[in-house]
Symmetry: C2
Subunit: 333 residues, 2 copies
């Protein structure tokens, strides 16, 4: 069981670090146990991103807070066009938290880090009194290397560009919601939580300079992410409802619950904006990987309606879809 | 007031980021608002460190959780011999948290970052339900540049090296304890929370290669930090009680409370291990700066008792001082 003393910086902290964190993440940089990890980096641009994870429940179908903490930050680096290299891990743990659960979470992090090819090189542990957190929060901050000459930015988007998504939508958000609310479906919905660096690498190899930008549609879902792209690019985006990859069970559950799957979080999907002449090649490359088998072109950048996202419905009507307003969902990452 | 929707990733999150975080931290890198900040770094070694801050109370004499969140990470970079450059900031905020308090905390972070010469270039905000946190937690993760050829490590410590501390001990821990427990002293004790990069720079300029290593004695205090140095170096350390810089009010309060000031946290002090031939020059350089006026040589590395820290008392006896065991104090950082 985790005690307040595990966060004191003294003997118990040292024991916890050695027997749980170093045991799982051990590598020559971490093992130095200095105030800061020392990293050798080649000259160039690096990507630097941070995310705190507060998902509730901490264990859910398809993953846990540890897996999502690694994948979330790896994916923010990957969609920035960087090769993810190093992670920090900061734990805020509630007094009384079971050590077995911590080990399970740390093991998930280790597995996800190995699968993503990143190393956890520095960390921190704090323990707060009972009621101080909802069990455990994890912050991961990542560093990745951006190859010379690579520039991904929504500002590069142009009318006619293809909008591609790597697979079916809404599963992470729905899996969390179902678990939290005690709902069960005939076909269980499982979180899509996965590292994406292999997929983004394949996309960039296939599309080269034709890849304008990438995003992972996490909190706020596809609708919110597309709205960010539209706002940041100053371009319009048109999405075709009949092309949206939505699993039958997700559509059914969303209808029952009265929620829109386009606002549900994804944790293993990427949105790609690609020049029209590379779009087919990119789709093919994506479909060649398990994490991209469901890749589809769902829409395009349009010359009118700058800053807006339009949805052409299956009935042929067009409506504006906006960013997520308020908070319809529980803590999903 | 902070609402759950401020952590949703949608419209409210965007508003909060623009009106509070960008407003305070705004710089060209942060303003890109991408999934990851893009940083240009010269070839070389970087220092990378993370810390989560859960201090309670969040406002205390001499600072607040925002100031400590910046100083803590800046100081971990500085004592590693790095020039602190960039920070990430991850906020976990409780629903209902007053917006005015958040602005006050963010303003402290801005001031501390300016004073430390670092830029906050990427961030994240999560909101958890009431009771989910103790008001607000902040993670900062930092990147600094280590000049070529600089190697600081306890492994370089040798018998005869001087052990120097930059000023009086225990004030941060005692200020937090007093505030939390509602104690008041005739002379109020104020946290020493401050960025140290200017002081460490002066130390390294004065001592050059004679600086073996530096540490900031935060959680666990001087006693715990010296024990880490002894363990990591495999050397013994002897400290002279009569040389320890302790303010009269700290000694008095500690006696009254039955705690040992050597285990109280400091947030604006540095311990330096320096070769004997540079020690005087280093002390002089330290005393030339406001954050080092109280610098003193308190002990030395000794050839016997490897891995242990010994205290020579004012009565001439010698006793072993160990690492902090358990958690005698409230959350102090």
């Amino acid at each position: 069981m985790i005690l307040l003393g595990h966060g004191s910086g003294g003997t118990l902290t040292n024991q916890l670090v050695k027997t749980v964190f170093q045991e799982a993440f051990g590598n020559p940089i971490l093992d130095e146990m200095l105030d800061a990890a020392v990293l050798e980096l080649p000259k160039g641009r690096i990507a630097f991103t941070t995310d705190s994870f507060v998902v509730d429940p901490i264990f859910f179908p398809g993953g846990d807070i540890g897996k999502i903490a690694v994948c979330g930050t790896v994916n923010d680096l990957a969609v920035s066009g960087a090769e993810p290299l190093y992670l920090s891990a900061g734990f805020i743990i509630e007094e009384g938290f079971p050590l077995a659960d911590l080990r399970r979470i740390v093991h998930s992090m280790k597995e996800a880090a190995e699968s993503a090819g990143v190393r956890v090189v520095t960390g921190d542990t704090k323990v707060v009194g009972r009621g101080g957190t909802d069990k455990i929060f994890i912050n991961t901050t990542g560093i990745g290397l951006i190859p010379e000459g690579r520039v991904l930015s929504p500002r590069r988007m142009q009318p006619g560009d293809a909008v591609i998504v790597s697979g079916s939508l809404g599963e992470h958000g729905l899996a969390i919601l179902a678990r939290r609310e005690g709902l069960s479906f005939t076909t269980p919905v499982v979180s899509d939580c996965a590292p994406l660096q292999r997929l983004t690498r394949a996309i960039l190899e296939a599309g080269g300079d034709g890849i304008r930008c990438m995003r992972d549609p996490t909190r706020g879902g596809l609708a919110t992410t597309l709205n960010e792209l539209a706002a940041q690019s100053g371009q319009g985006i048109l999405v075709h409802e009949e092309l949206l990859p939505l699993r039958r069970e997700v559509v059914g559950a969303c209808e029952m619950l009265g929620i829109d799957p386009l606002y549900l979080a994804n944790e293993g999907k990427v949105i790609v904006v690609a020049a029209p002449d590379v779009a087919e090649r990119v789709l093919e490359a994506m479909r060649g990987l398990p994490e991209g088998t469901g890749a589809l072109r769902i829409g395009e950048v349009i010359p009118d309606n700058p800053g807006l996202v339009l949805l052409e419905t299956e009935l042929g009507a067009t409506r504006i879809i906006t960013m997520l307003e308020g908070e319809p969902l529980p803590r999903i990452c």
